[in-house]
Point group: C3
Chain length 468, copies 3
C-alpha cells in the first residue's frame, strides 16, 4: 500500500479537486529549480554514498531531531554530535529505532509528508515507519544507499533538478564547485554569496576573518575602501567561479541603514577593534545590507534577506551541541521601519531584493504592500517553519490580493536534506495548484489563466527572479 495519497493537499470538493489535479498534472514533472538551499556541495563534488539511513534522515535534520527532543529524547541519543566530542549514540540502527518508535509525533507535520515521500519515491518503502517496521525499513534503505544510483549525482539527475544553489562564505575557496565544474557531470550546482563571517562584527573571529577576506581578494580589507573592494572582488569570484546569481543575508532583524560613508567607515574601524556596542554592531550590519544592495545594482547579483530568527535560544543546548540544533526561534519584525533606508537607497531601481519572513503577521500588513509598490522588492516563498501546506496557503491568501503573483518568486526548498527536495517542491506545486483551483472555483481567476500561473509559480518565476 502506498504511503502517500495520490490526491494529497488538493481540496476535498470533487470539482475543485479535479481542477487542482488538472493544473498539477501539467506542472508535476517540470524540472526543479532550487535557487536557495543548504545542500553540501561536497556531495556533488565527491559523489560518495550516504553513510546510513540515520545519517540521511535523522542526525542532520533539525526538523526531525527537534521534534523528537521536544518529547524528552536527549539529542545525544539521536547521535547529534557534541561540541566537546563527548560520547553520543554511535549506532545508527539504535538512532533509527528511536526515530521509528516515535514516528507518531510527526502526524500532521510537513516532515511526515517529506519523509514518507522520500521513503516511497526514492526508496520504494511500502510500509509506515513504526517500532515494528523499523529494522526492515532500515535495511531496505541501507541496502539502497550502497548502490551507485543512490549517490548524490544520480539522485540529482533522478530528481529532475535543473539547477541547485548552495550558500558559501566569502572565505570559502569554492573548491567543490570547481571540482563539479571541471567534472564531466552535467549537473548545475551554483553557489550564493553569504557574507555573515565578514559583515557581522559579532561573528566569531570577525577581525581575523576580515584579514583573510582581504588576502583572498588581494585587497587591504582593513580599510573601509579596501573592505568594500574586497566584497566586490569576492562577489565577482563567486559569480565567475561558483556561478552565483545571488547573495544571502540572515541577520537577526531586518534593520537596514544607509549611513554617511564616514560614519560607516568609523563603525568598521570599531568593529575591527572589537569595540562595537551591540547597537553599533547592529547598525553596521544594517548598513552593510545597503552596501550589498548597491553592489547588487552594479553586478546584478540578486539579494536575499532572511531575517527574524533568534538563534540558539537555549544556552545549555548551544554550549553542549552548538548552532543549528532546532533552537532558532522566529520573532516579530517591523519591516516597514527596518527596510526603509535600504528601499530609499535602491528600491526604485532594477536590482532585486527577495524578502523572506518568519513573521506571518507581516504578510498582509507590511510585506505585500511593500512588494506591491517597490520595483526592487519581491517576496520569497513561505519559509522554514512555514514551508508547509498551511504555511503556503496562508502565504498565498495573505499576499496575493495586494502583491499579486508576479511579485513573488516561486518556491525555495531551503533544505539540507537531499531527499526532501522533490518532496518539498511537490508540496509547493500541489498547494499552489489547490489555491489556484480555489480561485477558479470562486470566480477569482479565469480557468484559461490558471495553467499559466501554475507554470509560473512552479518554474518560470524562480528562474527569472534568480536569473537562472
Amino acid at each position: 500500500m502506498p504511503l502517500l495519497d495520490e490526491d494529497r493537499l488538493f481540496p476535498p470538493d470533487s470539482e475543485i479537486r479535479a481542477l487542482a489535479r488538472g493544473l498539477y498534472e501539467a506542472v508535476r514533472d517540470l524540472p526543479i529549480v532550487s535557487p536557495h538551499g543548504h545542500t553540501d556541495p561536497a556531495w556533488f563534488a565527491l559523489d560518495e554514498a550516504f553513510a546510513d539511513p540515520s545519517a540521511l534522515f535523522v542526525t542532520p535534520d533539525h526538523y526531525v531531531f527537534r521534534m523528537l527532543h521536544s518529547q524528552g529524547i536527549p539529542l545525544n541519543a539521536l547521535g547529534v554530535p557534541r561540541r566537546d566530542g563527548g560520547a553520543v549514540e554511535s549506532d545508527p540502527r539504535a538512532v533509527w529505532r528511536l526515530f521509528a518508535q516515535n514516528y507518531h509525533l510527526f502526524r500532521g507535520t510537513p516532515s511526515r509528508l517529506w519523509i514518507d515521500h522520500a521513503f516511497q519515491h526514492v526508496f520504494g518503502v511500502t510500509e509506515r515507519l513504526s517500532a515494528d517496521t523499523a529494522d526492515a525499513i532500515y535495511d531496505q534503505i541501507a541496502g539502497s544507499l550502497a548502490q551507485p544510483e543512490f549517490r548524490p549525482r544520480a539522485l540529482y539527475d533522478r530528481f529532475g533538478i535543473e539547477v541547485i544553489a548552495t550558500t558559501e562564505s566569502p572565505l570559502d575557496d569554492l573548491a567543490h564547485h570547481r571540482t563539479i565544474a571541471d567534472s564531466d557531470w552535467q549537473g548545475r550546482v551554483i553557489t550564493a554569496y553569504r557574507p555573515d563571517a565578514v559583515v557581522d562584527p559579532d561573528f566569531e573571529g570577525f577581525a581575523e576573518n576580515v584579514e583573510r577576506f582581504g588576502a583572498l581578494a588581494g585587497e587591504d580589507a582593513t580599510t573601509w575602501q579596501g573592505y568594500l573592494a574586497a566584497h566586490r572582488n569576492r562577489r565577482a569570484y563567486f559569480k565567475t567561479v561558483g556561478g552565483a546569481t545571488s547573495t544571502d543575508h540572515g541577520h537577526p532583524t531586518a534593520r537596514t541603514e544607509d549611513l554617511p560613508q564616514t560614519e560607516a567607515a568609523a563603525l568598521f574601524v570599531r568593529a575591527l577593534q572589537g569595540k562595537c556596542t551591540p547597537d553599533e554592531a547592529d547598525r553596521f550590519r544594517g548598513h552593510m545590507l545597503t552596501e550589498m544592495a548597491r553592489m547588487s545594482l552594479d553586478d546584478g547579483l540578486v539579494m536575499q534577506l532572511h531575517p527574524g530568527s533568534v538563534r540558539n535560544h537555549s544556552g545549555a543546548v548551544f554550549d553542549a551541541y552548538g548552532r543549528d540544533k532546532g533552537y532558532d526561534i522566529p520573532t516579530r519584525v517591523d519591516y516597514v521601519t527596518a527596510l526603509r533606508p535600504l528601499l530609499n537607497a535602491v528600491g526604485e531601481t532594477d536590482m532585486t531584493l527577495i524578502m523572506f519572513t518568519l513573521d506571518e503577521s507581516s504578510y498582509a500588513r507590511e510585506l505585500a504592500p511593500l512588494a506591491g509598490v517597490y520595483p526592487a522588492l519581491k517576496l520569497g516563498p513561505a519559509w522554514w517553519f512555514h514551508d508547509s501546506a498551511e504555511g503556503m496557503r496562508r502565504f498565498r491568501e495573505m499576499t496575493t490580493e495586494t502583491a499579486g503573483f508576479y511579485n513573488t518568486v516561486g518556491f525555495n526548498d531551503d533544505t539540507r536534506a537531499l531527499c526532501s527536495i522533490p518532496a518539498r517542491h511537490d508540496v509547493a506545486r500541489r498547494v499552489d495548484c489547490a489555491y489556484l483551483a480555489g480561485l477558479v472555483a470562486t470566480g477569482r481567476l479565469a480557468e484559461d489563466e490558471a495553467p499559466e500561473v501554475a507554470h509560473d509559480l512552479a518554474y518560470r518565476l524562480a528562474k527569472e527572479a534568480y536569473k537562472l
Copy 2:
C-alpha cells in the same frame, strides 16, 4: 462571454453555494449606503463627463498604478502627474495600452474583480483586457463616456446609491455640496469632517490653517478656547450645510490622550509656534481625538478613526509625485494602550467611535474584545488593502465570535473610483452571504436567522451606525 462568474465568491460546495446565493439574491439589489469614501463632490456638483478611460481607471487609482509600478513601470509612463509639473505621458491611449499589456499582474487581486465588474456592468465590455483588446475596449469606454448616461449623476442613480459621503477639510467652504443641495437633482451627497489640516501640528501650514479656520468660524482660533469653539462651529456648519453625520481621523497611530486642559492649551501654543517635538505633536493629535470625541457626544457626529499607515514610505517618490502614490504602508498598532485614554473619557457613553485597522493581527486579539464590551466602540469593515474577499472573510472569522455582528457597521467602499462603488459593495455582499451560509451549514446560525443578518450587513447597520 461575461467577464464575471455569476457565482463568484460563493463557497464551492453546491449546498452551501445555494444557501449563499439565496441570501445574496435578497440583498443584491438593496440601495447602496456609502458612508465613507473619497469621491469628488465636484463630480456631482458639476456633472461633467469623465475625460477618458485612463483618467477613469488608471491615473487616479493607486491600487492600479502601484501594481504596475511594482513591476518596474515608471509612474510618469502611466500619466501620474509630477509635483514639478515635469513631463509625463499625456496620451491616455498610450497609458491604457501599458495597463492592458500588464493586466495579468492583477490576477487574484480585488482590483481585477472591480475593474471587470465595471467593464461588464457599466460599459458592457465582453472581452478580457489584454494587449490585443486594449484599443477596442478603450474605444468602447471612451464612446460611452461621451454620452449623458455616463455622467456622474446618472451613474449615481444607476448604481442605486441612496447616500454617499465625501470627506472635506474644515477649511473647505462646501461649495460643491451647496451646489448639489441647490440643484433639482435628488442624489444625497454629504460631507464628513476631516480636520487633519487644523489638528496636526506637522501638517503643512498648520499655523496659517488655524488662522483661516478661525476666520471661517468667526472665532479667534489662536487661543485654545477659541480653537475649540471654531471646531464646534465648523462641525455645526458641516452638519447643517454639508449634511455631515460623521467625522474622520487618519493619524499615523491610534494614540489618544486625555490631557489636563492647561497642558493641552500649552501644547497648542507650541504647535502654533512650530515648536512641537515629534512626540509633542503626536500627543497633541492624540489629545485632539479625545476632544473630537467629546464634541461628538454633544453634537452627535459619528467619529471614525483610520490609523496605522506609514505615509510616503519612499522619499524619492514623494519628492517627485507627492502624496497618495501607493507608498502608504500599514504598520502594527497597539490599540489596547492607544485607545485607553479616549475610551476612559467617552467609551461608556452613547457616542459612536468606529475603528478601522490595517493590522489584522489586532482583530481577534484587541479590537473585537474592545468592541465587544465598550458601548461607544464599533468596528469598521475590512479596510484598504483588506477590502478584498480574503480580507473580509478574515474580518468576519476573527471578529464575529467575540464582537458579534452588531458591533460592526456594514460596509464602507472608501473609494476614489466612482465605477468601483457597485463592484465593491457587491463583493462585500457576496462575501458576507458566503460567510453566513458557512455558519448555517455548520450549525452556527439558524437558517431562518441568516436573511435578517444578511440584510443588516448589507444595508441596515451602515444606516444606523452612521445615522443616515
Copy 3:
C-alpha cells in the same frame, strides 16, 4: 424542534463530514477531564440549588453581560453587583427578559452555542430564546433548578465529569475541598495553586498576605528563605489536601527572570516595604515564575502560565463594579524574549510548563517553535476569547505543523459556568474531529491514525499532561 444541529461544526462536504462524524462518535461520550477552570468548590461542597436562571446564565458570565453591555445595556440592569452595594436590578425575571430580547446579539458567537447546548441538553428547552419565549423558558429552567437532579453534584455526575480542577489562593484553607473529600460523594474536585496574592507586589494587601501566608505555612515568610519555604509548604498542602496536580499563573506579561538569589531577596524586601517601582514589581513576578518552575521540578506540580491580558481597561467600570467585568483585553506578548530566562533554567528538564496565549499571532511564529523543541514546554489549548470554533481551528492550523499534536495538552474549559462544561468540551471534540477529518481527506493523516489522535485530544493528553 432541537436548538442544535446534530452535525454542527463538522465540515460541510459530505465525505469529510462523514469522516468527522465517525471520529466524533467514538469520542463524544468519553469522560470529561477538566484540568483547568474556575467553578466554585462551594457548589460541590454544599450542593445547594442554583438560585434562578439569571443567576445561572447571565449575572456571573462575563461573556454574556459584556456583549449585552456593548450594545448600551447598563451592567446594573443585568443585576451585576456594584462595589458600593448600590442598587442594581434585583428581579431575576427582569434581567432574563433583557437577555432574551437581545439574544440576537449572540448570533455567530460561542456563547450562543454553549447556551443553546445547555438549554437543550440540560433543561430540555425546545424553542429559541427571544422576547416571546423569555417567560416560558425562564419558568421551565426555574422549575428544573428546584429539583434535586439539577444540583451541582448531580450535574457533575450527569455531565460525565471524571475530574475537575478549581483554582485557589495559597491563603485559602481548602475547606470546601476537604468537605468534598470527607463526603460520600465520589466526584473528584481538585484545586490548583494560584499564588497571585503572595507573588505579585502590586496585589492589594501584598505585605499582609505574605504575613498570613507565613502563618498558614508555619514559616517566617517575611524572609526570602522563609518565603520560599512557605511556598513549598503550601504547595505540598495543596497537593495532599486539595489533590492539586498543577499551579496557575496569570501575570500581565509572560516576562520571566532568573535573578541571582541576593537580588531576588532584595527585591522581595522592597516588595514587602511597598517600595517596588512598576518595573521592579514586574521583575519580581518574573523571577517568581522561575522559582515556581524550580519547585515544580521538585514536587511535580504542572505549571500553567496564562499571560497577556490587560486587566480592568475601563477605570470607570472598575471603580463601579470591580474586577472581571469583561474589561480584560488581550495584548501582544513577545514569548521568545519573555520565556528565555525560565526556559534556560528548567526548559531541558522533565518538569511541565503549559503555556496559554491570547495573542494568536504567536502560535506559528513563537509558541509552536518553542514547544516543538523544549522538552518542558507544552501548549495549552485555544483560550478565553479563542475558546471557540474558529479559535480552535486556527490553533490547530497554526501549531500542528511545527509542534505536532503531542506537544499540546487537550482541552481546558476554563469556565465559571457549570452548565457550559459539556457544551465546551463538545465544541472542542467536534472541532478537533473536523480538523482531523480534513487532514485525512487531504492526505496528511492516514485514516487508521485519526481515531487514536481524536482520542488523545479528547481525553488522554489532558490526563497525561496534568498527571490526572
